[in-house]
Amino acid sequence: MHTLSRVLFATFCLVLGGAAVADAGQSSAKPPANEDCLACHSDPDAKRANGTHVAVDAPAFAASKHGPMACVDCHADLATLAEFPHPDTLKKVNCASCHDAVGATYHDSIHARAREKSGLNVAPACADCHGKHDIRGKEDLKGRVSHAQVPATCGACHDGIKTKYDAGVHGAALKSGDSRAPVCADCHTAHAIQRADTDASRLRATAECGSCHASVVESFTRTFHGKVTQLGSARAAACADCHGAHDILRASNPASTVSPKNLQTTCGKCHQGANASFVQYDPHPNPRDYTRSATLWWANRFYWLLIPGCFGFFGLHSVLWFWRSRKEARTPKDGSR
């Protein structure tokens, strides 16, 4: 079978080559159809002169997001090429010729800058994450960029981080099939990835945590840490500063940064000298939850009476005073008062 296909392939090439020669001299060449390309590239052993593979998995391509497209839609320089077999090196495929918005976003990312400015060629471009001929949408469970596959795709390079992520609560949730578990791109974004230690990234991360942990982030915004963060200062502790980022563990886990055992170390990162008393601070207070802090609950009650009481009483007092003063000013004085 293998031999037969080779023979067929060689024959086809000859016929095609003959046709091409016969066509030479005519005004414009018709762009090759996908079948024309696959005639050579479907051979799993097809290689360039330097030995690198040029095989295309035809069924995989047909099943991909780009299946209905023509080869020359992406390999655009072949559309006008008259001579086949074509040269070994073609122009690089430019995904942004269709995906221009994503291209522009990527262009500003840390990955693109690593490639384009720093010449770090191992940094990923489109195909490194999305694949080449087997590109699938993120809603496609088999796709490299589907929710469940993202950690593996990023982990191809960021292996150490993936190990941490897998050990953390979010990685475990993903493994157990929880579709809400955040993956790399949820916090870091997919195309706009920046350094995670910039102020902008740190401030954005809190909102991302809040997209699931809404009440927890709401309680955080009641604290000094949260209010300062809301004002745009990245110096105060936000989620990841206490909980970690990739290796988040439950507080009940002794290895967790927020385990009671480790709180003095964690708080002590900023508050040097934090002792056992210090870490009784509640970073997620809720004045309406009596069980969380009775004192705070009572303080809340007290001021909810005091503030409306004061404003109500003296507000009415002022209104009445105003009314009486206006009235007295209008009535001519008769000396009775």
Partner: protein, 293 residues
């Protein structure tokens, strides 16, 4: 602007000018220099504390970053807040020390009880009800003494508020040191109390105190007495009938007669008062915008 009115009214005899006349003397001393200076310090620090604290209290409001940016961003606002906080605390500590010195060292009488005292007394409760009766037209205006009940409320609110907010502020400023004497969950209580008490104080001063002291008919747009130190005799007789009668009876009135404040002093008072009122009402507008939006 602190002129020669520092002495106690009962000791000094001012060279009276036409004080024998049956009509009230032109101006009567009400606030001495240190008291007026204290008001200026409290005014300045309170406005500064409000303007630098509100961005944090209303951190989710659209104007919070803009207001903080006026002080060089959040960190600048924090520094200014701590500076004004320390200044206000020092001023209040100085005031309490001064009152103690006057009472216990100089043996001044009437500070803790009596007609000129700031301490709430049964008369104040009675006058509150009398005032409400007057509001609704069911009785005459009460005959107030040196300090009326709403003025005593203002005074004690500032004193109590500064002590409480100052203590809470210090806990938040030095949490690690505070944790040696307090459990850590007190930081939660301290932040909550600091914010709630701030809401109360800002609302009370910039609305109720402004109205009672300055904006109400008869005083509008402002009462200059806290800036000039003296009050018009007619006004005193009208507004503080009991005090006027007492001063007249004891003959102290003539000793307290002062020349009318100079135009320059009045202008300065107007300028300071206008700035204070404008900034305060502006901050109230921001709060209302954040709450009602």
């Amino acid at each position: 602007m602190i002129n020669a009115t520092l002495e106690r009214p009962t000791i000094e005899r001012h060279p009276a000018e036409g004080a024998i006349a049956p009509s009230p003397p032109l101006h009567i001393r009400r606030f001495d220099g240190p008291t007026r200076a204290l008001h200026i310090v409290i005014m300045t620090t309170f406005l500064g504390l409000s303007a630098t604290g509100l961005p944090l209290l209303f951190s989710e409001a659209s104007w919070s970053r803009v207001l903080a940016a006026l002080f060089g961003g959040f960190h600048g606002a924090g520094l200014v807040h701590r500076f004004f906080g320390a200044a206000l605390l020092l001023a209040v500590v100085w005031h309490v020390a001064n009152v103690c010195w006057r009472a216990f060292v100089r043996g001044e009488r009437g500070l803790f009880w009596g007609p000129t005292s700031m301490v709430p007394q049964p008369r104040d409760v009675v006058q509150l009800f009398q005032q409400i009766r007057w509001f609704v037209g069911a009785g005459p205006r009460p005959r107030f003494e040196h300090f009326a009940y709403w003025e005593k409320f203002d005074y004690w609110a500032v004193l109590w508020g500064t002590a409480l907010m100052g203590a809470a502020g210090l806990v938040l400023w030095f949490p690690v040191a505070a944790s040696r004497v307090l459990p850590g969950w007190m930081f939660n209580v301290a932040l909550f109390v600091h914010g709630a008490e701030a809401t109360l104080a800002i609302g009370f001063i910039f609305v109720i105190h402004f109205f009672n002291g300055h904006l109400r008919p008869g005083k509008f747009p402002m009462d200059l007495v806290i800036f000039t130190g003296s009050v018009n005799g007619h006004e005193l007789r009208e507004e503080r009938a009991a005090e006027y009668a007492r001063l007249e009876q004891t003959g102290a009135l003539q000793g307290m007669t002062v020349p009318p404040p100079s135009a320059a002093l009045c202008n300065r008072g107007h300028l300071i008062g206008t700035i204070g009122l404008t900034l305060g009402l502006g901050l109230v507008a921001l709060i209302l915008y954040a709450i009602l939006r």
